[in-house]
Symmetry: C2
Subunit: 495 residues, 2 copies
C-alpha cells in the first residue's frame, strides 16, 4: 500500500495562504502527481498534525475541504482515503457534493443549486426561487427607510413571538381577497414558510405518527421527515394534483395525523387543483376528521387567471392549517412566512417558534407591513406576472422546438415550475444532468421530489426534471433549452 | 349547575367590532354580572356557533381569548369552564399567562416579558434584551442603505445556507481579537444564537442522551430540552461559574454527550469564569473527551476590563463548539448568530439549518458585514459600555439604599444581569412579583432559571431574581429599585 510522505508538504508560515490551505494543496499536488493513488489511506489528523507541527484543527480543516471537493472520503472511526478522481471527472461537470449516487439528497442538491446559481458560467433552471432581476429592490428600500425613520431603534429590537401586529392586519386584509376570513390574532409569523412546516411537524406529530404527502412533493419536506421518525405515505398525483379516490384507503390503513399538500401551482409539478376536486378532497378529510396542512406559497403567481380559492376558504370545518409567505413573489431572503392554524393550535405553535429561534426578524416584518398595503405591491405583482408569462412562453416554444420527440411537459398556469418527462427509452435525468452541466446548464432532477424507497415511486421517476421557467430572460431561456436538448443528444450517444 | 343563556349575547353584524370580540365581551359581561359563577361549563363551540348563527371558528377564537385572559379554562375533550377570578385577581397584577403556578414556564414568562416591556405603565427589569434607546439605528440605517445601493435586488434573494461569505470574514477578524483563530469556511451563520443551540441539540443529541447544564441556566435551553427526551443534569455554580470539582463525577455517572455553558457574564447570574478555572475545566473535558458548547453571546459587553479569552481560544483539542452573535449588543431583532463547530460537525449542522429555515436573512447579514468592519461599530461599543456602567452604578446604589438587609446581590463585571437573593425569611420572588407589578415594576423570578424537579435545585431558588440593569436611565433605574423595595415591604406585610 502506498504510504504518505508528509515531508513533501512544505509549510510556509510567512505565506498569506492559511496553513490548512497549504496542507490541502500539498495533498492535491501529491494526488495529481500520482503519488497517492485511489484508496491510499491518509495519516490520522493527529499524526499528520504532529509531523507538520501544526494544530490538529488545521489538518482537520484541510481534510474537510478535500472531502468536500471530492479528493478524499472521510469517515469518523475509519479514516480518510483518496478517491478515484476518474470516477468523479471534472469539478465543473460533477460537483463535489453530488459525486456519489448516495449524495443525491435534497439537502446536498439544494446547496448545489444555490452554489450553481451564483456561477456566471452556468445557466440554471434548478433553484426554487424567484428571478433576482424581477425583485422590487427600489420599492423595498423605500419601505425599509420609511420604517427606519418612523420607528427609530425599536426596529432593531426583539419583537413579539406571534409577529408584528400591523403585519398581521396587512396579511388578514390580503387573505380576505383570497376568501379567507381571519382575525389578526389568529396568525403566527414564522421565519419563512419552510419554518412553518418545521414547526407543524415538530409540534403536532410524534415519532411513529403517520403523515400523507403528495408524490412527488416539495423536497424540503422529505428532508424534514427524514430524521423525524414520522411515517410518510405518498399519495399519487395527476395533472390536477392529489387523486382523492386514493385517500380513503390510505387514511383507513395508516390513520395519518396530517395531510400535507400544495393545491395551487404545486412544487415540483406546477399542478393546480380544480375547484371541484378541492371540495371533494375537503369532504373526505372532513369525513375522516383529518387535519390538512395547505401550503399556499405560490398563490400570488397566477398567470392567466387567479387560481381557485384556497382549501382554507372552502373548508366546512376547522381542520385546515394554512401556510404561506412572500418568499416566491417579493422577499426570498427576508425569511418571513406565516401560519393560520385552527385557534386551538396557535399557543403550542407559538411556543415552539419561540423555543427554536424566538421570533422572525422585526425590521423585515415592519417593512413588509408597509409594502403590502401599498399600490406598489399590486403593481409589482402585475409586472411580475407579465414577465413570467413571457418567460413561460419562451420555455414552452423552445421545448417544442428543440427537445426530442416523446418528451412531455406541463403547461403551467402559475407558480415557478415546468415539469418535464424525458423519453423513457433514453438517458435518465441524472445522466442528462452531468452532460447538461458540461454545456453550462443546470436543472432539478425529478427523482429528488419522490419519496425514496416508497412502493409508490413511478417506474420512470428518473426521467423527470423540474425547470424553473421564470429565472432568465426569454432569450437566455430559449438558448438554455437549446443547450439542454444538445446535452440530451450527447447523453443518448447521438452527439 | 348554572346554565349558559346564549340569548344574552347580542351580536351586531354592522358593528366594526369582530363577532368573536362581541361574543367574548358578552361572556365576560355575564361572568362579571355573576351569571356565570366559577366552574360553570360553557356550551361546546359547535353548539354555541349554531345557536348564535356564526362560524364555529368565531366561537373557538372567542374562547381562546377568554382562556388567554384567564376567564375560562379550556381543555380539548373536556370542555371550557369559568375560572375563579378571585384566585387570579386583577389583570394588571396577575398577567393572563401566569395565573396558575403551572403557568410559570420559561415560554409563558418570555411572552409575558415581551408584552410587559411594551407597556408604558410598567418599568421592567425582566427581559434579556439590550436597551432600545442604546441601539445604533442611525449607523445601521447607513449600513443597510450602503448594501441596498451596492448590491441591488440580490440583497432580497435567498442566500447560501452557510451564510454570506463576507460576513464570515468579518466575524473571523473579530474572533481573532478574542484569541480564536478560525477560517471563514468553518463558520455557520444561524438565525440568531438561540437557533444555534436548537441546531446543536437537534443534530448532535438523541432522546435518551445526557447533557450537562449550568444551574441556574439560560431559560430557553430548559425549554428546548423540555420536549426533547434529552436527559439534562445540572452542575451547581458559584460566583465564578460552573464548579469544576463536581464535573468528573457527573461525567462518569451520566456519560453526557455535551456540556453547555456560558463562561462569560452568564445568564442569569452574570458570573464570569476566571482564567484558571477555564483552563481547569478544559483539562477535565479534554481528559474525558467531552464536547463543550460555549455560549459567548455577552462577550462584547464587558464593563471594567475585557473578560478572559473564550474557552474556544484556550482549548487544547478540537472539542469546543463556539456560538455567539450580535443580539445583545447591536441587532436583537435581526436574528443573526453564528456557530464555530469542530470541522467534522459543520456539514450536518448546515443541513439541519437548511431543513429548519433554509438560511438566515440575507439583507441583515450583508448590513452586518458592512458595520462590523467599521469604526462606528467600535465607537458604538464604547458608548454602550459607558452607558451600561452608569446604569449598573445606579442599580447598585439603589439596591444598597432601598433593599432590606439580608438581601444579597452580585456586582456584574459585564453582560446584562444582576442576580439578587432576597432575605430567605421573607416573601418569595413570585410573591414579590405580584406586588411589584402593582407598583408598576417587573423582573424575572429566579426559579425560572433552575431546572424543575432536579435534586440540585437550591432550597432558596424561589428567593432569587434576575434584574437587567441596562434597560433604563440611571434615574428610572433608581426609582424602579425604590418601588421594588416598597413592593417587598408590602409583600412582607410591612407596607
Amino acid at each position: 500500500m502506498t504510504t504518505f510522505d508528509p515531508l513533501r508538504i512544505t509549510l510556509d508560515r510567512s505565506n498569506a495562504l492559511p496553513l490548512y490551505q497549504q496542507i490541502k494543496q500539498g495533498i492535491v499536488a501529491a494526488i495529481e502527481r500520482g503519488e497517492l493513488p485511489p484508496s491510499t489511506r491518509l495519516p490520522a489528523t493527529r499524526v499528520l498534525a504532529r509531523q507538520l507541527g501544526v494544530n490538529r484543527v488545521t489538518v482537520v480543516t484541510a481534510y474537510a475541504e478535500l472531502a468536500a471537493e471530492g479528493y478524499i472520503d472521510s469517515h469518523v472511526g475509519r479514516g480518510s482515503f483518496v478517491l478515484d478522481r476518474a470516477m468523479g471527472g471534472d469539478e465543473a461537470v460533477n460537483p463535489p457534493s453530488l459525486r456519489r449516487p448516495s449524495d443525491w439528497t435534497a439537502h446536498n442538491f439544494n446547496r448545489e443549486m444555490m452554489r450553481l446559481a451564483r456561477r456566471p458560467d452556468i445557466l440554471s433552471f434548478a433553484p426554487g426561487m424567484p428571478a433576482t432581476d424581477l425583485l422590487p429592490d427600489d420599492d423595498y428600500r423605500l419601505a425599509l427607510n420609511t420604517v427606519l425613520r418612523r420607528d427609530g431603534p425599536a426596529v432593531l429590537q426583539y419583537g413579539l413571538v406571534e409577529g408584528y401586529p400591523p403585519l398581521h392586519a396587512a396579511i388578514v386584509k390580503e387573505l380576505a381577497e383570497f376568501g379567507i376570513l381571519a382575525e389578526p390574532e389568529q396568525l403566527l409569523v414564522t421565519s419563512g414558510t419552510e419554518q412553518g412546516l418545521a414547526l407543524i411537524l415538530r409540534t403536532l406529530l410524534r415519532p411513529g405518527d403517520a403523515i400523507l404527502i403528495e408524490q412527488p412533493t416539495y423536497m424540503h419536506v422529505l428532508d424534514l421527515l427524514a430524521g423525524s421518525g414520522i411515517q410518510a405515505y405518498p399519495v399519487a398525483c395527476d395533472e390536477q394534483g392529489v387523486r382523492p379516490e386514493l385517500l380513503s384507503d390510505l387514511i383507513l390503513r395508516h390513520r395519518p395525523k396530517l395531510l400535507y399538500l400544495t393545491p395551487t401551482y404545486q412544487n415540483p409539478t406546477g399542478a393546480c387543483m380544480p375547484l371541484t376536486r378541492r371540495r371533494q378532497l375537503l369532504d373526505l378529510t372532513t369525513e375522516h376528521d383529518l387535519l390538512v396542512l395547505e401550503d399556499d406559497v405560490y398563490r400570488h403567481l397566477w398567470l392567466d387567471r387567479p387560481s381557485p380559492p384556497p382549501l382554507r376558504a372552502l373548508a366546512p370545518s376547522d381542520n385546515v392549517i394554512y401556510t404561506s409567505g412572500y418568499s416566491k413573489c417579493l422577499l426570498p431572503g427576508a425569511r418571513i412566512g406565516y401560519l393560520l392554524p385552527p385557534a386551538r393550535l396557535l399557543p403550542v405553535l407559538a411556543a415552539s417558534h419561540q423555543t427554536l429561534d424566538i421570533t422572525a426578524t422585526e425590521l423585515h416584518q415592519r417593512a413588509l407591513a408597509v409594502i403590502l398595503g401599498q399600490e406598489r405591491f399590486s403593481a409589482h405583482l402585475v409586472r411580475l406576472r407579465e414577465a413570467h408569462r413571457r418567460r413561460r412562453q419562451a420555455m414552452l416554444d423552445a421545448l417544442a422546438r428543440y427537445m426530442p420527440s416523446e418528451t412531455h411537459w406541463t403547461h403551467p398556469r402559475g407558480g415557478l415550475y415546468l415539469w418535464v418527462q424525458l423519453p423513457t427509452t433514453g438517458p435518465s435525468a441524472t445522466t442528462l444532468y452531468v452532460h447538461a452541466l458540461e454545456l453550462g446548464i443546470a436543472f432539478a432532477p425529478g427523482h429528488l421530489f419522490f419519496m425514496p424507497s416508497s412502493g409508490e415511486t413511478p417506474v420512470h421517476a428518473n426521467h423527470y426534471l423540474r425547470l424553473n421557467f421564470v429565472l432568465h430572460s426569454p432569450r437566455d431561456t430559449a438558448d438554455g433549452i437549446r443547450r439542454l436538448a444538445r446535452a440530451w443528444e450527447r447523453a443518448a450517444g447521438m452527439g
